[in-house]
């Protein structure tokens, strides 16, 4: 059967996401947030999710809607501080002890995801040594430098925003839209991409930034 990863709708693309899933969400600083898929997931409503997302509170991301809807048990992120003095939806739940937080240095965050998709169960890194974010982690010295052992992160679902896709799931990104998208797709059991445009023809190989073999479903979503 010819490969065709185009999904009928955002709702259809996330309809089988179960309770308790670990969900990667791409995006940084306003670029690459899969906001159409985030809303579709919220409407589908699986509970007890673990979100793996750079920011729990970014003002241009709809991540907070999953949190406000009470669907999230835990967030693994690098940034959990809201912009305003008023606590964000995440901060309110976190202060009340109703949501778990794991704050990770950004390079370690993305490398743990990369490792998850690359068959590396754990790795040593000098980042975070001597800080409270690595407290209790195994430490070992390499070439006279103290390093901490960090474990890979694998997920059930990745929601990724890209610019263009073809029916094979090949993705191309605009500017800084790429950020966490490619590694998140590699580490997830099911990778769903929303894109500005689905091409009628196969994407020229030199433009492919994430091979379609890592992408399971694609949805066209204008903005």
């Amino acid at each position: 059967m010819p490969i065709d990863k185009r999904s009928g709708s955002p709702a259809e693309a996330v309809a089988d996401v179960p309770d308790g899933a670990t969900v990667f969400i791409s995006g940084f600083g306003g670029a690459g947030f899969p906001n159409v898929l985030i809303r579709a997931l919220r409407d589908h409503g699986p509970r007890n999710l673990t979100l793996v997302v750079n920011s729990a509170t970014h003002r241009y991301s709809y991540t907070h809607e999953l949190i406000e809807a009470g669907l999230v048990r835990k967030v693994i992120c690098t940034a959990a501080r809201g912009q305003s003095k008023e606590p964000s939806p995440f901060e309110r739940l976190w202060v009340d002890g109703k949501i778990e937080l794991e704050c990770v240095p950004q390079g370690t965050f993305v490398e743990r995801i990369r490792a998850g998709g690359a068959g590396i169960p754990a790795f040593y890194t000098p980042v975070g040594f001597g800080t409270e974010l690595t407290r209790g982690k195994e430490v070992r010295s390499f070439d006279g430098r103290e390093c901490v052992l960090e474990q890979a992160i694998k997920g059930d679902l990745a929601l990724v925003r890209a610019d263009e896709a073809d029916r094979y799931g090949n993705l191309a990104f605009r500017y800084a839209q790429m950020n966490f998208g490619p590694v998140m797709a590699t580490a997830a059991g099911l990778a769903v991409a929303e894109v500005r445009a689905v091409l009628d023809e196969p994407m020229p190989h030199s433009r492919v930034q994430l091979p379609g073999v890592y992408v399971d479903r694609i949805v066209e979503a204008a903005a």
Partner: protein
């Protein structure tokens, strides 16, 4: 002579004078991003942003804003000629791999052994935000800090030991403040430049650790730069 501390932009200007031609530079949020505005004209550098941009240019003018082209501070920027963009995994491999010549970071506190505290002020009811600070502090080839010499309440920020949560241990090599340029050496803080109108005793009073004054200690000077309203 009355003491006229440098303002934030003048401090950024002073740090910019130490950026050498050809460096790959990462600038932290806040005061450090202004360093890019004061580089010497003959200096050609690439500015790396942790979200994968190699060759960040100035802020985008209103009519050329693109929400997909942002820097680590979510600011809408442009690209310089020769720029490229990679994903976050590659960006942090670049940072951890020692390919960043210098990162200039803001800070709350710096200790005499080079320990840096710049990520968590322990604000009540506010979540933590570490971003790429720990990666940059631990792995850039040089880590410079720009900060005010004392807190708003007048407490020193240069200390024997940090009191706030650490970002990385023994990483800072140089600190630019509104009063002085201070190197972090194996013998502790060494003052390289000091503002006109402040005495050695005056600087010691504003510092929470032992200071050594370099034999070649020079006046700290910057051209007048007005702060925006």
């Amino acid at each position: 002579m009355t003491m006229q501390p440098l303002n934030r932009l003048q401090t950024a200007w002073r740090a910019a004078q130490d950026i050498s031609d050809g460096m790959l530079v990462n600038l932290g949020l806040g005061m450090p991003v202004h360093v890019a505005d004061y580089l010497c004209p003959e200096v050609d550098v690439f500015i790396q942003s942790e979200n994968g941009i190699i060759g960040a240019g100035p802020l985008a003018p209103m009519d050329r804003i693109d929400t997909d082209l942002v820097d680590a501070g979510s600011r809408r920027i442009t690209l310089r000629p020769g720029a490229s963009i990679v994903d976050s995994s590659w960006s942090f491999a670049m940072i951890r791999g020692g390919h960043i010549d210098v990162t200039i970071l803001g800070a709350f506190e710096v200790a005499a052994n080079g320990d840096l505290a710049n990520w968590d002020m322990r604000l009540p009811n506010k979540g933590p935000l570490v971003g790429g600070a720990m990666d940059l502090a631990a792995c850039a080839r040089s880590v410079w800090v720009i900060m005010e010499h004392v807190t708003r309440k007048g407490a020193p920020r240069l200390l024997e030991a940090c009191t706030l949560p650490l970002t990385a241990v023994r990483c800072v090599t140089r600190v630019y403040t509104d009063l002085a340029v201070v190197d972090v050496t194996s013998a502790g803080f060494v003052v390289r430049e000091m503002l006109d109108g402040i005495s050695e005793a005056g600087l010691r009073e504003r510092t929470g650790a032992r200071l050594t004054f370099a034999v070649s200690c020079k006046p700290l000077r910057a051209p007048p730069i007005e702060l925006p309203d």
